[in-house]
Symmetry: C2
Subunit: 438 residues, 2 copies
């Protein structure tokens, strides 16, 4: 063969990939997240990576940067091909899925979805072009009980608490409270309402005075601004929220809903959740309960790890049914990447194996293979070393891969085996049928 020219590969900006020792941590995270989702009865769905562009833009232009697909070599059937693009979230695909399979689903439909999504945005810390999202949503026909609004934060608390990333706080609000107040104050113009909620959303970032100025720009009187700001500064538990004086029926409804949701979370640790009337969520999509999540011990993490809320109409663009829902989404890759880059994430081992069975001499190959097989049949993850090489080399391989136990098979079946604990250095006799990790 002739000498080849070499094309040295480079990382592609915004498309992360991990070494095995971090991928194994990502896997642990995803296994844990899935286990919690399933423990509440959420079923998995996966949708194709692509949707038709007409479906993605059914609500109007999307503000996300979409990647469209083109086949490199045009074929005769190209004209018949659907115009496809990679999905940019899991909500539009869920809406399309529910509309398309409406007659085959059981409602309330509780689903989780953990897939990659794509956005052609400029990459930076915590913003990628390809990343995993982990979503749960419950969709009902016509009426969705409020108990699901309380289930979301319970699930998410359990998910994030198990990731070993410090204390987590769910911040919960109900948009009806502010909508009710604005209505009572005579602020009913749709655009003004949107501007007010956006201004409130910025409270934490720009402070009370700047929000005051933004509200002033909307020609809201000083008295009314004071009332709005008094309301958004309220934080508390169910009993505190229940005490808020409602100005009208909508505001009362929001207060009742929020205090009900908070009252259903009393089994969580005190720091784990709070009613916080400054949480608005920019999207007009949400109609009642809204969620954000803060990592109390990771100040480097800006913004919300995980957010969502209740919406009135999931799939009105695709089906003539009234489908209210509530959902929440974890930006998994974003969280993982930021914690990794800020030193909050420890690498795992480079191998999933519990045990490396070594082959001290050529005569032991069969015994070693049998030993590996019987340990595997007992549920252990066992790598069999690949050749009768110097023992030091075999031990160093186990060390480099982070395999915690090294197993020495005997010279003949029936004789004593020995196992070395690589962390403590201890070595002791063992039998494959009864051995347990120490």
């Amino acid at each position: 063969m002739s000498k080849k020219s070499i094309i040295k590969p480079k990382p592609i900006s915004g498309f992360p990939e991990w070494l095995p020792e971090f991928r194994i941590v990502e896997q642990r995270w995803m296994d844990h997240i899935r286990a919690v989702f399933e423990s509440y009865g959420y079923c998995s769905i996966e949708t194709p990576s692509v949707e038709e562009i007409d479906i993605l833009t059914a609500k109007g232009e999307v503000d996300k940067e979409i990647y469209t697909l083109t086949r490199l070599h045009a074929g005769a059937d190209d004209d018949k091909d659907a115009r496809l693009a990679l999905h940019f979230d899991q909500t539009v695909p869920l809406a399309r899925y529910v509309a398309m399979h409406f007659n085959d689903l059981v409602f309330p439909f509780k689903r989780y979805q953990m897939q990659r999504v794509w956005r052609g945005e400029r990459p930076q810390l915590g913003r990628m072009r390809e990343f995993y999202q982990c979503d749960i949503d419950v969709i009902a026909v016509d009426n969705l009980p409020l108990s699901f609004d309380a289930e979301m934060p319970a699930v998410i608390y359990e998910v994030l608490d198990g990731l070993n990333i410090g204390r987590v706080q769910l911040r919960i609000n109900n948009r009806k409270i502010m909508f009710g107040l604005l209505d009572a104050l005579g602020i009913t113009d749709e655009d003004a309402v949107i501007q007010v909620t956006r201004a409130i959303d910025k409270l934490e970032k720009i402070g009370r005075k700047e929000v005051h100025n933004l509200l002033k720009e909307q020609k809201i009187s000083n008295d009314n601004i004071t009332k709005i700001l008094e309301l958004v500064l309220i934080k508390g538990r169910a009993a505190d929220i229940a005490k808020i004086k409602a100005e009208n029926a909508m505001m009362q409804e929001g207060i009742d809903e929020l205090s009900f949701v908070l009252s259903r979370l009393e089994h969580l640790p005190e720091h784990g959740f709070i009613g916080d009337l400054s949480i608005m969520r920019g999207l007009d999509y949400y109609t009642g309960t809204v969620y954000e999540t803060e990592l109390l011990d990771v100040p480097e993490f800006q913004g919300s790890v995980c957010s969502g809320g209740r919406y009135d109409d999931l799939a009105g663009n695709y089906i003539n049914k009234h489908l209210p829902g509530v959902g929440i989404s974890i930006g998994l890759s974003r969280l993982f990447d930021v914690l990794k880059q800020t030193g909050h994430l420890q690498a795992g081992p480079r191998s999933p194996a519990d045990i490396l069975v070594v082959i001290p001499s050529k005569d032991q190959m069969d015994t070693a293979a049998n030993t590996a097989r019987s340990l595997r049949s007992r549920g252990f993850k066992v790598e069999l070393y690949h050749a009768a090489q110097k023992l030091g080399k075999q031990l160093s391989y186990a060390e480099k891969k982070g395999i915690p136990y090294v197993w020495f098979p005997p010279f003949e079946d029936g004789q004593d085996h020995e196992v070395k604990n690589m962390e403590s250095g201890e070595q002791s006799a063992a039998t494959p049928d009864t051995w347990e990790k120490s």
Copy 2:
């Protein structure tokens, strides 16, 4: 809000998606496959869904139909964007990964990869545009021990045997045997050798006589054709292969390697593997051991479920290192789709939950929630019904979702609970702290 126009979504040809009751089966499959891979010490990697087009085509034009990516709204930084395309397999990404992270990996590098790949081919039964592949490969620097060639079929047998799809047979050959014979017969022209191996590959499909004609076209003498056909008809175990008379050193090497590999598989059931000298695998890429896999009890499944082999040089296009490897790939979605469409696949439940805790009356809401939590803490997957509705409605919900147990909480904490087994209809007293599935 004004009345919306509805865009009715349609399935996209070649991009499959499953209802929850089949997705749950696909998940079981993937969990099982992953568990077997890890039980042999293979670590997981995931690569981005895209590669640079220059990387994908480093070996020359690819015969697969590639999907390229374009951002819908061109931005100012578009010129600087890499030219990207979705990967069409996991071998090119593996090669690129190993070359790029060479200094951070421990060799032999044993990795598995279970991701979606994309090919813009015309969809038909068992051929999709988006599908999962499950690959394992071992990559070494300079020398890769033959024991890995024997590990591949052991892993794959265990994987497929656990999927409940009937008996599986691994068919194994070593290309050096035929290359040696051809060399001994004076058939050394590179193109002729390729044509001969391709003709042999067709043996099962077109029969002995047609292969004879194809070899004749290559101007091979009748005597030599007879010798070639005699060889490819050989099937057997290690001892049978060892008896083949070699015409030269290369042929002997192939015989020795194949009989070694077969001898290491004697722990498998008799039907589980066979040396089969007609297996050639079209790709020129393979240099020694090659594998195919047959489903003995699913005649509808055409072709190989799972194939692979040994190659000399994984990443010569990307790095100046000699990296031999051996690998095998399961066409997961293809297998799943064909079995589903031919009625070999049973749907699973529509929910992962083991138990539905019902709420017979409003007063029992707290007790029901506490019961669900304590069952979850014992590892059960538990859905809490969302409202105090008629019991018949709650039971019918469990039935429709395929949830096997329904739990009736008492009117007060401390009183008797009851559990109904939905399959047998039996109902009996139970406590959340001690209950086990019957």
